[in-house]
């Protein structure tokens, strides 16, 4: 099985006080810690497990800046065989449709059985790129995959529906699957792995290498554009309970006692 995994290098924002940047269209990213998109971490793990069981190769691909190398190197350290990064300032600020288009150009040049993406990116959360990519590649897809069983020339997967329900889907290869969290337990990077990764190939491509012209990418040909980004202020949203932990605890107890819950 030759597997391609699309990975994105994203800022970790859960515990950070975010600010909007000068453009007013995105967050200020300086000082933030970046890592692999959570869903992609599960996708990379799944690909490596399939390779370990059935043989073949794992290639990780990203569209992003040079900083993404950190994420690519970590994927290589875990067991991916090679990495490809597409970097071109003409792609910056492109929408997910353009990202899918660029990825499809990279993938079309390769031989593969399976393309894995995350179910969604944690920064923009479009849940778009995977299935859009399948359409551009002219191959089938299924999303939110929680289990993969490899058969001859096809896979049988469980995909997640609402409320804990799952659907069993059979799909012909080559195909695109978008991976849901919890499908496996992603491994940690080992020291050995990091050493090996240094010797693995990391290719950098530009639009010219892909035969894509400026008018096929960039803001102009994007479907959507972020016009403004904003953060609602907390005071307007919720009644805050303030004070020392003991004071807060007393107030919470008062509130729930008032509701007859204690």
């Amino acid at each position: 099985m030759d597997i391609i995994v699309c990975v994105k290098h994203v800022p970790e924002v859960a515990e950070v006080d975010l600010r909007i940047d000068e453009s007013g269209r995105d967050i200020e990213k300086t000082g933030l810690v970046f890592d692999i998109n959570e869903w992609d971490d599960y996708a990379v793990e799944e690909a490596i497990r399939i390779k370990e069981e059935y043989g073949g190769s794992v290639t990780v691909v990203t569209v992003g800046s040079e900083d993404s190398d950190r994420t690519l190197r970590r994927c290589l350290a875990k067991g991916a065989d090679r990495a490809i990064r597409v970097t071109d300032r003409r792609i910056v600020a492109s929408d997910p449709f353009i990202v899918a288009k660029v990825l499809s150009k990279v993938i079309k040049k390769m031989t593969f059985d399976l393309v894995l993406t995350g179910a969604q990116s944690s920064d923009y959360g479009y849940a778009f790129v995977g299935p859009a990519l399948s359409s551009l590649l002219g191959i089938p897809h299924t999303t939110l995959v929680k289990k993969i069983v490899i058969k001859d020339g096809r896979v049988v997967v469980n995909r997640e529906l609402e409320g804990g329900l799952e659907e069993v889907v059979e799909i012909k290869l080559p195909a695109v699957l978008t991976i849901q969290t919890g499908i496996n337990e992603p491994r940690y990077v080992s020291i050995m792995g990091i050493k090996k990764a240094m010797k693995k190939e990391l290719r950098v491509l530009t639009l010219d290498d892909l035969g894509l012209s400026v008018d096929e990418v960039g803001v102009e040909s994007s479907w959507i554009q972020i016009e403004e980004m904003y953060i609602p202020s907390i005071e307007r949203r919720v009644e805050l309970i303030r004070g020392s932990p003991e004071e807060v605890a007393s107030k919470i107890v008062e509130i729930i006692k008032g509701r007859g819950l204690l």
Partner: protein, 326 residues
């Protein structure tokens, strides 16, 4: 007259709530753009479902075909492509659900129709379709401008629009199935029902719910203790289940359980919409999170911006004191 076309979502004989939410939002857009609000339902033996849709729509399109019995996005795409090309709706609305995310992107790409996913709101501004959506796990909002086109496609988030029951009597139109090609690359074989767990969190009055902020498996016991003194039950967000720290039957949210307890205590939960959709109707929501911008505060009645490892022990002590437990 142009159409706003809403794809009705149904599963195992039930029309799903997102359909009525979209029809409510769709009505608003139809009025503003002087369009007609149409709903479309595809499936096998679904004619009887058209009645309820007609109460919300100016027109209900019904497509019956045995091959549409299960939700296979390939077959849906084939059927919808023909219909969309013929009718040229102004906006096609699809739920941002497990079915919608499977269908919409590849349908949009194949028709070259611009798509915005996971919209919370939609309107036209200076001639541009404009969408409001969240980004960065719900910590920021973005106003998205869509490129001008003849038709647009959106996926719409569940649980943000209050469905308004209407008394329209939309015309029901049966459309002959336009499916030509047998899809051969993807087959939907079966459903797997969730296993019945030991604990039914949806029947508890008090839920103490833990998120990734609990940091480590060994800290789960802190939540357990609070649940015990409160006489409540322990629940959690998805990452806690993904990591195997609590069993799946404890998960609250879109892919877990929907709960409406008298008290929901959210500890170290950021409030991603897939979590919120499962607990926002709780009678009293108190959240503890050290990040003042955590979206969980959008739907909480009371918020504590602090470290849960300081607040929870103090709360346990206070409750013990009040209840005179030693």
């Amino acid at each position: 007259m142009r159409e706003i076309l809403v794809l009705a979502e149904h599963r195992r004989g039930e029309i799903r709530e997102i359909t009525f939410e979209m029809l409510t939002k769709g009505r608003d857009i139809a009025e503003k753009t002087k369009s007609e609000l149409a709903s479309i339902i595809l499936g096998k033996n679904i004619k009887d479902k058209a009645e309820v849709l007609s109460r919300y729509s100016d027109k209900v399109l019904v497509v019956e075909d045995d091959r549409l019995e299960l939700f296979n996005s390939d077959i849906y795409q084939e059927a919808l492509s023909h219909i969309i090309i013929e009718r040229k709706p102004l906006i096609i609305m699809i739920g941002h659900t497990s079915y919608g995310v499977e269908l919409a992107p590849s349908l949009a790409v194949s028709l070259s129709t611009p798509l915005v996913t996971d919209c919370l709101d939609l309107f036209f501004e200076n001639g541009h379709l404009t969408a409001i959506r969240q980004m960065y796990g719900g910590k920021t909002y973005a106003k998205i401008k869509v490129k001008k086109a003849d038709s647009y496609m959106v996926t719409f988030r569940q649980g943000v629009t209050q469905p308004v029951e209407r008394n329209f009597k939309g015309e029901i139109v049966e459309i002959p199935s336009p499916i030509l090609k047998e899809p051969i690359k993807k087959k939907v074989l079966d459903y797997v029902l969730p296993s019945v767990g030991e604990v039914d969190i949806s029947s508890a009055d008090i839920l103490v719910s833990l998120g990734r902020g609990i940091k480590d498996r060994s800290n789960i016991s802190l939540g357990e203790e609070l649940a015990k003194v409160l006489g409540g039950v322990l629940a959690c967000s998805r990452p806690i289940v993904d990591k195997g720290w609590l069993p799946r039957d404890r998960q609250v949210g879109a892919s877990g359980k929907t709960v409406k307890p008298k008290l929901y205590l959210a500890l170290g939960i950021s409030g991603a919409f897939q979590h919120i959709v499962g607990m926002k109707d709780s009678q009293l929501i108190i959240s503890v999170n050290k990040d003042p911008n955590a979206p969980i505060f959008n739907i909480s009645h009371y918020g504590v911006v602090d470290d849960l490892f300081k607040i929870v022990p103090a709360l346990i002590n206070k409750i013990k004191e009040v209840k005179k437990i030693k």
